[in-house]
């Protein structure tokens, strides 16, 4: 079980919500479209060997947080501000989906920040031959069909969240989802390619690119696009999983991350 704390940055006026737990060397987790919560199963697995630092992306708690973040460089600076205030130096950075895009941008803007980088189903590139799906044109009720391949895993995830959120009403949950997706549109709309391809060359850390083979949002073929730009990279594609691979193949994902981080 993770705990959450509020971190205020007096100079920027930003307030961060940071989830944390576990013991060991710190590991920065940057979440995907569903945000992060205290019982995130992948983080519980990783917390056995690492001290997890999992900030909630700007906008996910309050859309006004996005007011001063108008570009990808400002987004990278926003995260660097937080890491500095937490007195974190170089550390492994693991991101999923939109969080993997932030991880890649952070690594491109601050090449010394990551010791190792894991990009799970990253968005951020565009290839005309296999376009990223338009998640924002999918009615909310059908979105899970794009994000998930494993139906049982999807249902288990939803059931866990329902239990975790039992005290909240459904309206608040719907508003939270709308807020999350609105935040994403600021950086992913209309084409989720904001120049990362040109910046990938700056990523110096050894990088693992991990995809679910059945990803219907960002096709797994994008592994090759990321690998082509990152000097020290390798790819792993897990069968039987979609975009939510960390929650469809949680044990395999955690094992792959641990194996990669343990190498030196």
């Amino acid at each position: 079980m993770l705990t959450s704390e509020t971190v205020r940055l007096p100079r920027s006026g930003r307030t961060w919500h940071v989830f944390g737990g576990g013991a060991g060397q710190p590991l920065l987790w940057l979440h995907g479209p569903r945000g992060v919560d205290a019982s995130d199963p992948l983080l519980e697995a990783l917390a056995a060997r690492h001290r997890i630092v999992a900030p909630l992306a700007p906008g996910f708690a309050d859309l006004d947080e996005l007011g001063e973040i108008d570009s990808i460089p400002e987004l990278a600076l926003d995260y660097d501000d937080l890491l500095r205030s937490l007195k974190l130096g170089s550390l492994p950075i693991v991101g999923h989906s939109f969080g993997a895009m932030i991880a890649a941008e952070l690594a491109a803007h601050f090449p010394d920040r990551p010791t190792r980088l894991v990009l799970i189903a990253p968005v951020g590139l565009w290839n005309d031959a296999y376009p990223v799906a338009d998640l924002f044109a999918v009615p909310v009720g059908e979105m899970d069909q794009v994000l998930w391949h494993d139906v049982a895993a999807r249902d288990a995830y939803a059931a866990r969240l329902a239990v975790a959120a039992s005290t909240q009403d459904q309206v608040e949950q719907m508003l939270a989802l709308t807020r999350n997706l609105t935040s994403l549109t600021k950086f992913l709309w209309p084409i989720p390619d904001k120049g990362l391809r040109r910046r990938l060359r700056r990523i110096a850390a050894p990088t693992l690119i991990l995809f679910g083979a059945e990803d219907k949002f960002v096709p797994a073929r994008y592994a090759a696009d990321f690998a082509a730009g990152i000097a020290a990279s390798e790819s792993l594609v897990l069968k039987g999983a979609g975009h939510m691979v960390p929650y469809e193949k949680t044990a395999d994902t955690a094992a792959a991350i641990e194996r990669f981080l343990a190498r030196n």
Partner: protein
């Protein structure tokens, strides 16, 4: 009361099985369904109909902006208004309007609208809609997270560009310009009246009242469903301690006039079905992308909102099955004998407190002949009976500086 002839300019030849075979009339509607000869003929008919409305005494003729769709063939309302500026002389050109966030820089809107105002001798009404999500987010690639802020900044820039006495610099979040100095400037001083076709949100109502803009509710679902929305606007008016002037508000209504209620069905049922079945067949994913509706608006009316979405979702599916009786009973279409139409429009004007009534006398695939017939009867038999309503109020949202003797087309005979 004032009466305005509004044209949506739909593509009129969608196949009978359009709704079953294709997923959306907007954004990704297949261009294989499009025939330029049909569009050419349609533009001709539609402009003729708008010009005719000017001749028979409508106060305004209205055009609007939509993109990548068969619902309305007007990506540029300004082109249509320019054509009308030369061929009309009385009716005001109600451009409803330009989606300001889509123009880069927005001074383009200030320039083109100023041209229209000058060409028409001061007959422009400047409409500034945010634009539908289909148009702004999906067809024009705007982020729904920043659309409204960009829109408001742009409207502010346009208004300054019309009114500042000299050159100024604009350091905005979305637009930066070292030199703003629009030529030509509008005829109307300090600026043309601004109308805002808006949805049902507290922010929009307050913004209109605070800036003295007319609030226009452009609904496809008639006057009976509009009560709550217009009540919201008038509540904002009251909150700001402003007088409830009916000319502060506009409303759009489908209307069909005939000898009798039965004859109205014979004339107008098919075009109405075409509109509701085909023109509103928007792909479900394009209707409400995340961020388009503010969280505050969702939260403020959450019960109503959820209920509305549910009802709308139901009506979206059932749009194909609706018949004439449904359109009439629900007030989507006001149609029948002149007495019937006058009665219902009186109810509309009274209950909603509407001084500016925009009517759709062409809808769906209505023929030119039927449209002109409907327009004639509305002008001759409806307008005179409602004209004096609200005559105690001053219309402050209407062009006042129209040139006394504007230049008219003077065709030159070729040698």
């Amino acid at each position: 009361m004032k009466f305005h002839f509004f044209h949506l300019m739909p593509y009129p030849d969608l196949p009978a099985d359009f709704r079953d075979k294709y997923s959306s009339v907007w954004v990704d509607v297949p261009v294989s369904l499009y025939d330029p000869a049909v569009a050419n003929r349609s533009y001709g008919d539609y402009l003729d109909e708008l010009e005719y409305a000017d001749q028979v005494g409508f106060d305004g003729i209205c055009v609007n902006e939509h993109h990548q769709n068969a619902y309305g063939l007007m990506p540029s309302p300004n082109l249509m208004a320019a054509a009308l500026a030369r061929r009309t002389s009385h009716a005001k050109l109600v451009v409803m309007g330009n989606s300001v966030a889509l123009y880069n820089p927005p001074t383009r809107v200030a320039e083109e609208m100023a041209m229209l105002d000058v060409m028409s001798g001061g007959r422009l009404v400047a409409g500034f809609p945010v634009g539908t999500p289909q148009d702004t987010v999906f067809a024009y690639g705007q982020s729904p997270a920043t659309l409204r802020e960009k829109y408001r900044e742009g409207v502010g820039l346009v208004l300054r560009a019309w009114q500042e006495p000299g050159v100024f610099s604009f350091n905005g979040k979305y637009t930066q310009l070292r030199y703003v100095n629009v030529w030509p400037r509008p005829v109307q001083k300090p600026r043309p009246p601004v109308w805002v076709p808006g949805g049902a949100s507290v922010e929009t109502w307050d913004w209109c009242v605070e800036n003295d803009f007319l609030y226009a509710n452009l609904s496809y679902f008639g006057y009976l469903e509009a009560q709550k929305v217009m009540d919201g606007f008038w509540a904002s008016v009251k909150r700001h301690d402003v007088e409830p002037n009916p000319y502060h508000a506009g409303f759009l209504q489908f209307v069909g006039v005939a000898d009798s209620d039965a004859e109205a069905e014979r004339l107008y049922a098919e075009p109405a079905k075409y509109f509701y079945r085909n023109c509103l067949h928007v792909g479900a994913g394009y209707v409400n992308p995340p961020g388009y509706t503010s969280l505050a608006t969702i939260r403020a009316g959450i019960e109503g909102q959820v209920a509305r979405i549910t009802r709308r979702a139901g009506s979206r599916a059932e749009l194909a099955t609706l018949g004439w009786k449904d359109f009439i009973d629900r007030g989507y279409v006001v149609a029948g004998s002149p007495d019937t139409v006058v009665d219902k429009l009186t109810e509309l004007a009274t209950k909603l407190n509407i001084g500016h009534l925009m009517v759709l006398l062409h809808f769906g695939n209505m023929s030119r002949e039927t449209t002109l017939y409907n327009t004639t009867r509305f002008a001759k038999e409806i307008i005179p009976r409602l004209r004096d309503r609200f005559s105690d109020w001053e219309d402050k949202w209407w062009p006042r500086d129209t040139l006394a003797a504007p230049a008219k087309p003077q065709p030159v005979a070729a040698e």
